[in-house]
């Protein structure tokens, strides 16, 4: 058996075994809990920091996170146009499903790509919060596999896209540094940064 499929079944076996685990998986995997929590953390991070230097670092993290999110989503959408992978519940046998049946391609996982892009942007400038968001994303990604919505390679692929999207923008697209500085400068002119 394909290792990816074997690993999927290994994770999916935990679905339906325990009421509490099912509840936790559903709490993590739905479209509203974790993504919205990310939005709140990132929104709050803009205003966090005892000194201007720390605040500016956090604000840079927020902006790179948002830029990475845009690029990651674009890459995922292009991927979907080029390659469609059926979901595990569509082709595998004995899949325990704890979620609804998304119709879009299974690979790569767009929610994971988005969350990893955001978490990476934050991590670049604020390690503590960044590690927290990354840990939450890992839990989210695992929940997606356990719930029967993705193969492990889907979430790994999404994670790679998200990480690279933000990383490449940060490391190689130098003009973005000026754009980020301009946004922060403009924010300061209206006493919001």
């Amino acid at each position: 058996m394909n290792p990816d499929v074997a690993l999927f079944h290994w994770f999916n076996q935990f679905a339906g075994q325990s009421v509490w685990l099912d509840w936790l998986v559903r709490a993590l995997v739905n479209d509203y809990a974790v993504p919205t929590l990310f939005a709140f953390v990132i929104g709050g991070l803009w205003f966090a920091g005892a000194s201007q230097a720390v605040r500016e670092a956090n604000q840079r993290g927020v902006l790179y996170a948002l830029l990475g999110l845009l690029l990651a989503n674009l890459v995922v959408k292009v991927n979907w146009m080029l390659y469609f992978r059926p979901r595990p519940f569509a082709i595998e046998e004995e899949v325990k499903l704890l979620f609804y049946r998304p119709a879009v391609s299974s690979f790569p996982s767009e929610p994971v790509a988005t969350l990893i892009a955001l978490a990476t942007g934050v991590w670049l400038y604020n390690r503590r919060v960044g590690w927290g968001l990354l840990a939450l994303t890992i839990a989210f990604a695992l929940a997606r596999v356990i719930a029967g919505v993705h193969y492990p390679s889907d979430v790994l692929g999404g994670a790679a896209i998200g990480f690279l999207a933000t990383g490449v923008l940060y490391r190689y697209v130098k003009i973005l540094d000026r754009l980020v500085a301009l946004v922060i400068h403009t924010g300061r002119q209206v006493n919001l940064a």
Binding site: A33, A39, A48, L98, F99, E110, V190, N191, A193
Partner: protein, 336 residues
């Protein structure tokens, strides 16, 4: 049936999903902002004290999540897509931010506003494009005081009211009209040459009080000058979020838009006072600039004039009684 808005670009989902989601994001975002405001001291965004704001923030976030997941049973069927989630949460966050600024405004301007003693008599005088007010005591004043407010704020009025209650006559105006106000002040003082004169200013007003040209061209004899939290260097007044540590957004906007220039070196008999919790000027910066400055424990920038120790200092400096209704002990004499 799907409901769509904005030329079909956004989907509202089934039933009240979109409305409930926006409400959920609004309440939780407001909670996040209250928590962050309490944690980092953004008074301009806090409804309550720092400690209570943190607790309120956590409570609102928890309640928002509990409410949304309790009343929305259909979270495991296709609902809002990524675009809708992003748009609605962004809109809700922006609205929550405006509400937080409003909360700070209400808290600072209404709930925490210090009581100002209104003078028995007031006269308004046009000074350039602005307006100054003469606050006059009952009976003849024992001293004339020029009081220069920080641009965009009126917290110096608290001190002005206390001085008037102790028989001072105070000309109160914003520091950006100080040149015109100084002319009015000189004219009144010239009519009563025997009466002592002094000056007090807060923030930009403090910088103006310290400026050398205050007492020159023509010479103006001031028995005392009191500079409350002068900035000293332009870098301390740059625009930024740090203003929300001290005041509401509207005052911050007004204060940072007014024209101002850094003060020259201290000249003459000025007393400089800072609050040790000033959110705009650090104690280290203030000490480096003005080693002789006095620091008042527990005082911030804008509420410095309302602190009793500062009011006592002002009264002693200007030769006024510390308690209202008591005759002055020592008339204001020029400090060495």
């Amino acid at each position: 049936m799907e409901n769509r808005i904005l030329f079909g670009l956004l989907m509202l989902g089934e039933g009240d999903l979109a409305r409930n989601y926006i409400l959920f994001c609004l309440v939780a975002s407001f909670g996040v902002l209250q928590f962050v405001a309490g944690r980092y001291g953004w008074r301009g965004m806090m409804l309550l004290s720092a400690h209570l704001s943190r607790q309120l923030g956590l409570a609102l976030m928890a309640l928002a999540y509990l409410w949304f997941f309790a009343i929305q049973p259909d979270l495991f069927i296709p609902g809002l897509a990524g675009g809708e989630l992003l748009t609605f949460s962004l809109l809700a966050f922006m609205l929550a931010f405006l509400l937080a600024l409003l909360a700070g405004f209400i808290s600072i301007r209404l709930l925490q506003r210090p009581r100002v003693r209104r003078p028995p008599k007031r006269e308004w005088v046009q000074v350039g494009k602005g307006r100054a007010e003469w606050w006059l005591p009952r009976g003849a004043p024992t001293i004339y005081v020029l009081a220069l407010r920080e641009i965009g704020t009126d917290t110096l009025d608290v001190l002005a009211g206390e001085l008037v209650a102790r028989s001072a006559a105070v000309l109160l105006c914003e520091s950006r009209w100080s040149d015109a106000a100084l002319a009015v002040f000189r004219e009144r003082c010239a009519q009563f040459p025997e009466t002592a004169r002094a000056a007090v200013g807060l923030g930009t007003g403090g910088d103006r009080v310290l400026a050398g040209d205050m007492v020159q061209n023509p010479p103006l004899s001031l028995c005392a000058r009191l500079a409350l939290a002068p900035y000293g260097a332009a870098v301390n007044r740059h625009r930024g979020l740090h203003w929300l540590r001290e005041t509401d957004y509207v005052s911050a906007w007004q204060a940072t838009r007014g024209k101002w220039s850094a003060s020259e070196a201290v000249s003459g008999n000025a007393l400089i006072v800072y609050g040790d919790e000033d959110g705009l000027i650090s104690v280290a910066e203030a000490r480096a600039r003005f080693p002789q400055a006095i620091f008042v424990a527990g005082a911030r920038h804008f509420d410095l004039a309302a602190h009793p120790p500062v009011q006592r200092l002002a009264c002693e400096l200007f030769g006024l009684p510390v308690a209202v209704g008591v005759a002055a002990h020592v008339p204001c004499k020029e400090r060495p």
